[in-house]
């Protein structure tokens, strides 16, 4: 199975994108709702949680791990790769590659949680690929709670999005990376506010495409993964709000099982 974890339900945007692109694979998802959110926590705490989540997914039969949470990907990818021998994917690299391929003027914006932005991982990865490129980052800590509230089209949400995007708008970027798996749910609000000429990169789409190429190039991995059967969605806590967000993402009811 393809193991996916996130701090909560945001990573389901990634699971959904994979399900669409690779419908023949089984997913096992873990959302750490009992300790959500990660983006406002320290790197040490996030690393500990990422390790525990990975252990849970492996114990349930995951053969590869996909970190569907930018906060965890930004501070815990390296330590997970050191500790575990299975292939570990994360949402940042595919989005970075897509952004670098897209930009014409070499000016890329990134929005994310405080943990992600503070890690400077996007700057690093973009400048590793193209040292001359300029990266402008803005942390948007209120967007996750707004999404989890379902305030996807409220006036206050629009104002807050505008306030967060304002500094990036001033920088003449032509590409904006949504550096948090909750943000695709706000795409319709973000697009018009950052401006038509800016391409918005959704990391859930990017990672699904990357995973597809990886499996095409590595048939031996694809083979151990494609055993059929239904995908499973585990969470460490269940709430009404989480069930509603999950349903909004998938467009259908999702059974959330308590795990870990």
């Amino acid at each position: 199975m393809i193991g996916i974890f996130d701090s909560g339900v945001g990573g389901m945007t990634v699971a959904r994108a994979i399900e669409k692109k690779l419908p023949h694979y089984r997913l096992i998802y873990f959302g750490d709702l009992a300790r959500t959110p990660y983006g406002s926590k320290s790197p040490e705490t996030i690393r500990k949680y990422a390790r525990q989540n990975t252990e849970f997914l492996l114990s349930r039969g995951a053969k590869i791990i996909l970190i569907a949470c930018n906060s965890a990907a930004s501070v815990a990818s390296d330590s997970l790769r050191e500790e575990f021998s299975v292939p570990i994917f994360e949402v940042i690299t595919p989005a970075v590659k897509k952004a670098v391929a897209n930009t014409k003027n070499g000016r890329i914006g990134v929005i994310g949680t405080r943990a992600t932005i503070k890690s400077r991982i996007y700057e690093q990865k973009i400048q590793d690929l193209r040292p001359g490129f300029k990266v402008f980052a803005s942390s948007c800590p209120l967007l996750v709670p707004l999404v989890e509230e379902g305030w996807l089209n409220k006036r206050e949400t629009k104002m807050i999005v505008r306030r967060y995007l304002h500094p990036l708008k001033m920088k003449n970027i032509d590409t904006l990376v949504l550096g948090c798996t909750h943000y695709p749910l706000l795409k319709k609000l973000i697009g018009p506010r950052i401006g038509k000429r800016v391409r918005v990169i959704d990391s859930s789409q990017a990672i699904a495409a990357d995973l597809q190429s990886f499996l095409a190039e590595n048939p031996e991995v694809a083979k151990i993964l494609s055993s059929g059967g239904e995908s499973k969605y585990y969470v460490s806590d269940v709430t009404q709000a989480a069930m509603e967000t999950a349903e909004r993402i998938f467009g259908r009811k999702i059974e959330l099982r308590i795990g870990a």
Copy 2:
């Protein structure tokens, strides 16, 4: 020592009120920043955390426990009292008594997190005291993130506060209980928006006064508590934002020690 716990730093408004009213007592505080917030989690998860926090405080020498988190108080007070033999105080009862004593028209509003409001604990406690009173409750899930962001005076915060208070304003209440220990930090915004004729009850003030009376009436408890020495503030995770909120609450730098 007086043990106090909260999901994060919000309960420090209670610690601060006690420090002012009872300066000769030592406090031991625990803020569960690694798992904050509680208000959006399930009753089962909150009860588990409340038990673990209580065990931590007792292991460090607390002789009484004060639940400075409305979400935990609303779903875990009874189970903690069954499990532990030390006196257990919580923030809800003192605020309820104060609200009942204050109202002239018997119409009381309550705002809190989703866990607190869903528990209907304020309705229960108010109607236990005065069955004829009407209680109007509104959950305000975005206020905790807004406080933790330090957005105490932003236009968006004012709009969100107005939106949350609107249904209560229509109900002709004369008393409003701030049913979350983060909300005193928004008192200046809440007051004008709910209207001058509504008295706003801050549970941190109410519990400090209650504790003072309890200690006056129970000198044997007061005696084991008043050993002098400095108060200690433990947290399960440290972040810059938490340190800033703590400093804002106390008006001075607070050393946050990692514990639990």
